[in-house]
Symmetry: C3
Subunit: 113 residues, 3 copies
Amino acid sequence: MGRASWPSHGPADLYCRHTSASLVIQENAAPAVRADLETFFERIAPEDPARYAHNDEGPDDMPAHIRAALIGVNLSIPLLEGRLALGTWQGIYLFEHRRAPHRREIAAHLIGE
Amino acid sequence: MGRASWPSHGPADLYCRHTSASLVIQENAAPAVRADLETFFERIAPEDPARYAHNDEGPDDMPAHIRAALIGVNLSIPLLEGRLALGTWQGIYLFEHRRAPHRREIAAHLIGE
Amino acid sequence: MGRASWPSHGPADLYCRHTSASLVIQENAAPAVRADLETFFERIAPEDPARYAHNDEGPDDMPAHIRAALIGVNLSIPLLEGRLALGTWQGIYLFEHRRAPHRREIAAHLIGE
């Protein structure tokens, strides 16, 4: 879509095409928030092979699926007067749930007028 | 909407009209992922009447509401060139949180061009 | 948008512009469901300063971010024949995760035809 037809109002949709990474809106200032969020998930969905039947790609495989189910893979953020209606403290994050780096694809589109 | 007017780009929205079932994107290959996900929720939101004030429909009532709040009831998946932009390993699941089978209604719509 | 152009079909999007409050679809009848949901979150993400590095605004700061990440800040509810396609028992709630009252902004829009 050319910039000329960029809408000024409508939903901006982001979609993560994976089952072990998420899209999440979180605090954009203090990095400790993201570290604490990691720690929280390590506590409720730990890398403990005794807990999971699914272990095909290692101990971080099933915890990653659980985190993706909890946080989700899509966001819809309103576009208002040509700008994302993010709050002052909101940032958009791709939350990687696997230990090793992975290439991730995000589909995005804008509709509106 | 007739097939003739089916859009090729836009959001495909799915909405589960219940508070004890969810829509979730998850791994479409290994059934163990779904079993492990069930086990995870039984661990963090167990059927333990001592924990909950709300128990109107039995011990699986409140755990089902908790799971629905955590996972959510709507998905928005981009339609790109006439196809859902699902990743290779992504499947769309209705996640039933009650023990007994229930009839569930999903509202769906497509908009776009 | 004037009432004259109110669409009868399309997504109704709601977006909470904060990182410590959520939008959630939940049971609209029994208040005990909401109390049990609070208790659940106090259990899995308690106000325990020993757990969190981020504590800038007090012991309820980081638990609020965790809850917002888990539940999410946006909802997309289909508009069908001019009405939100909410199920019989569904209500839309702003879930405040901080202890003190806060002023919260929700962006909403409707698109469709």
